[in-house]
Amino acid sequence: MKEVLAEKLRVGSTVFVALCALTAVEWFAARWPGALLWLAVIAAAKAALIAEYFMHSSQLLGEEGS
């Protein structure tokens, strides 16, 4: 039980680091040519990470009641 909890907390920390890295990239991407497109792609990637790992969006795709 404790190992499973520790593993899940590690996954959360990894996702957080990825979100911070994408935010840093976003900050620089605002100065690149075609910035609007880059910013949209980065924001979508951040939202997808949060939805999948933090909000467990794929739970809904599982069997009803499972």
Binding site: G12, F16, T23, A30, L39, K46, A47, L60
Partner: protein
Amino acid sequence: MHRPEAARLSPHELYNARLGLWLFIVSEAALFSAFIAARYLNLGTQRPAELNQPLGLAITAALLLSSLTAYRAETCIAHGDRAGFLRNTLWTLLLAVVFLVGVVAEWVEAFHLFPPGTRYGTSFFSLTGLHGLHVLSGAVLLLGVYLHGRRGRYGPEDYWPVEGVVKYWHFVDVAWVFIYPTLYLVG
């Protein structure tokens, strides 16, 4: 002191509760999308140079960190770690307050630089105001699960209220993921 067995959600009820919450989140996403679209329709990609970029980045970092602590709170209660749940919920609440104080500080500056009646001010105050209200309501809900948790509510088999509030909190973070570049970076 967990709820009695009969009061807990069956797997079918839990699925329906999750589906209902996701439908609510989708409807909320449509509301935020309309406000974000209005910003681009009114202003294109223009933005004022006077925006407080360090403050915008700081409150973004606070909200991202609060998503991690909210995730940890839910994960801890799902695995029976009540102390970890309470500690992480408290951190999430603290970060929510930091975010709101940051938004208020930004508003104080913005009232002088681009008041609500100006084109950018209209988008800035409506988007940050709408989002700030969601942060405030999320913080109130987090306080509710924290107080119930302190009284012994919730456990590994019975934590839907925590899961629901934490999902809502993550949605508030996702909304900011799109609002931050829209207000602070584009242009």
